[in-house]
């Protein structure tokens, strides 16, 4: 630490530049992780809110809620601690001057999918819905009567709830009858027992159903099969993983150049009896200091940037994840220093005498 810190103090500019590069890499990693997290919650927050363990869909739907269709009777044959029926359809909702993509959930008021109302009241009667509060930003308000793209039915927003987006669309929660009128129109009466899936809270997912035509899917698998979800998160995560590798290489190159410049100095110190281990620890300590400062500044900068971003940018910072990524960055930076440590160990103190 002694050598490491004194060298940084003496050669401030040189080390500030290295810290700057590490900071930019950290900034990019943190920002991408925020973006990955934000995009993920855009898709999954309504599902996360269920706190469910599995979803039962028809086998032929291939894990797609929209393509799955079963009857309430079939659903009630499923065995689990807690169950909630779910009907779902996508639509375009329109008030007087705004349009928005929405996802309509048909649920039962007394089952666990029922969201907590944060503003207004719960749906009570025909065609009343609780809406995701993100719709407020899109220009929708309590008491709005919205028209839907595919049907004559009109829905009235009577309440708002938080964290309710499904596959990037704000959710409208209504009762099963409302959902069926939207989905089937005049044929709603005849299809009164049709739903899309059944959401479970249970310890033993595999025991939930033994019917061939039904399939119980773990919630995480269900989310991964939402359209576009996996492609999106894979892309961003790959970028983050590559950045880890890149930062390791950058540190390795910088430190190696610095070390090569100091070979004769290290040789002199070794001739005087300073052990290789001490010099190696000093380089590791130096890397640790540089990486820690770089990551800390990068983190601060990311959070500050977050304050100034418009709401339309889907960034959501998850501090525990960012701290883990930060720690990983420090660790890969130190891994990059190993190359220089090997060089130091190999330096022959004889070089210091020059012959």
């Amino acid at each position: 630490m002694f050598l490491a810190w004194n060298e940084i103090q003496k050669n401030k500019l040189r080390f500030v530049l290295i810290i700057g590069v590490l900071m930019l890499v950290a900034y990019l990693v943190f920002f991408l992780s925020g973006l990955a997290n934000g995009l993920a919650s855009l898709n999954r927050e309504a599902v996360d809110k269920w706190e469910a363990s599995a979803v039962v869909l028809t086998e032929e739907s291939d894990k797609s809620l929209v393509a799955s269709s079963l009857t309430i009777d079939e659903a009630e044959a499923v065995e689990a601690d807690e169950t909630a029926v779910l009907g779902q359809i996508n639509a375009i909702a329109r008030n007087d001057d705004q349009k928005a993509n929405v996802s309509i959930f048909g649920i039962r008021e007394d089952e666990f999918i029922m969201p907590e109302v944060t503003e207004g009241k719960a749906f009570a009667g025909e065609n009343e819905v609780i809406a995701s509060d993100t719709l407020k930003e899109d220009g929708f308000a309590l008491g709005d009567v919205v028209e839907l793209s595919s049907t004559e039915e009109k829905l009235e927003i009577v309440g708002f709830t938080e964290d309710a987006r499904f596959n990037a669309a704000p959710v409208l929660y209504g009762d099963l009858a409302t959902f069926q009128r939207v989905k089937f129109g005049e044929a709603a009466e005849a299809n009164g027992d049709q739903i899309n899936g059944l959401v479970l809270r249970t310890d033993d997912v595999s025991a939930a159903t033994d019917k061939d035509e039904l399939e119980a899917i773990e919630v995480e698998t269900f989310i991964e099969n939402l359209p576009g979800y996996t492609a999106q998160s894979l892309t961003l995560n790959f970028m983050i993983y590559f950045l880890f590798v890149i930062s390791s290489v950058i540190v390795a190159i910088f430190l190696y150049v610095l070390t090569v410049q100091k070979i004769s100095m290290f040789g002199v110190m070794k001739a005087q009896g300073v052990p290789s281990g001490y010099l190696a620890r000093s380089v590791i300590a130096q890397t640790f200091i540089l990486a820690l400062i770089g990551v800390a500044v990068g983190l601060a900068l990311t959070l500050i940037t977050g304050l100034f971003l418009p709401a339309a940018v889907p960034v959501a910072f998850d501090i525990p994840t960012m701290l883990i990524y930060g720690a990983v960055l420090v660790v890969v930076a130190i891994a990059g220093a190993v190359f220089s440590v090997l060089t130091i160990v190999k330096i022959d103190p004889l070089k210091a005498i020059g012959g």
């Binding site: 110190m269 001739a271 103190p349 210091a352 012959g355």
Partner: protein, 223 residues
């Protein structure tokens, strides 16, 4: 008391046609409090002699004994400990770490070794060498002579029994060179160390108790 002893030490580099006898079979001993010069043209083997004496290089044959300890058989890690404890190096260019102040040069040795000089001894040393005012300066702010005086302080700081100096006056003009040699001699007598100076500069031999000449790997005593 004998602090350094060579028994039939030789060093050969390469093999076959390219075989070079850098140091031919040599017996040598140095006593406590002696200032010894080894002179000779470059390539005569005097650096080989110094590096073997300092435990940086293992001899091909023979044994090297420092303070009654045979260092020939030791591995690099153990020899590094002997260097730290028994030997102070003063090198041609300067053996200072560029990013440490004079005071911190000494502190670095504290970090890797116990039983260095205490505060009063360091103050006395600084005073003797006339570097008391330089303690917070970096090597780049010092003149060549000042740097070499700090290098001497650094070599003596760890209370070594042997000081090995490789061309300590190479980068200095005559006046500065005599000054540095005078200081080395004084400290050798005061601290009862043994100082071996390797140089090609014959003007410096007046400062030494014994003078050896190295010619083609053969060491001969001249004085």
């Amino acid at each position: 008391m004998t602090v350094l002893e060579f028994n039939q030490v030789n060093k050969t580099f390469g093999s076959g046609h390219k075989k070079v006898d850098a140091l031919k079979s040599t017996d040598f001993h140095a006593e406590q409090g002696e200032m010894i010069a080894v002179i000779g043209p470059s390539g005569s083997g005097k650096s080989t002699f110094l590096t073997i004496a300092g435990g940086l290089l293992s001899p091909s044959n023979g044994e090297v004994i420092i303070n009654n300890e045979n260092i020939t058989a030791l591995n690099e890690k153990e020899r590094s400990k002997i260097r730290l404890k028994e030997i102070g190096f003063i090198l041609q260019a300067s053996n200072l770490v560029p990013f440490l102040t004079v005071d911190k040069q000494m502190k670095l040795l504290d970090k890797v070794k116990k039983n260095n000089m205490n505060k009063e001894e360091v103050e006395q040393l600084y005073k003797d060498l006339g570097i008391g005012d330089l303690r917070n300066k970096y090597p780049s702010d010092l003149s060549g002579g000042e740097r070499q005086r700090v290098a001497i302080a650094k070599a003596l700081y760890s209370n070594p029994s042997i000081v090995l100096a490789d061309e300590p006056t190479a980068s200095l003009d005559s006046d500065r060179a005599y000054e540095v040699m005078g200081l080395l001699k004084e400290e050798t007598k005061n601290k009862k160390t043994t100082t071996i100076v390797v140089t090609h500069d014959t003007r410096l031999i007046d400062y030494c108790d014994k003078v050896y000449k190295m010619v083609d790997g053969v060491l001969e005593q001249q004085k």
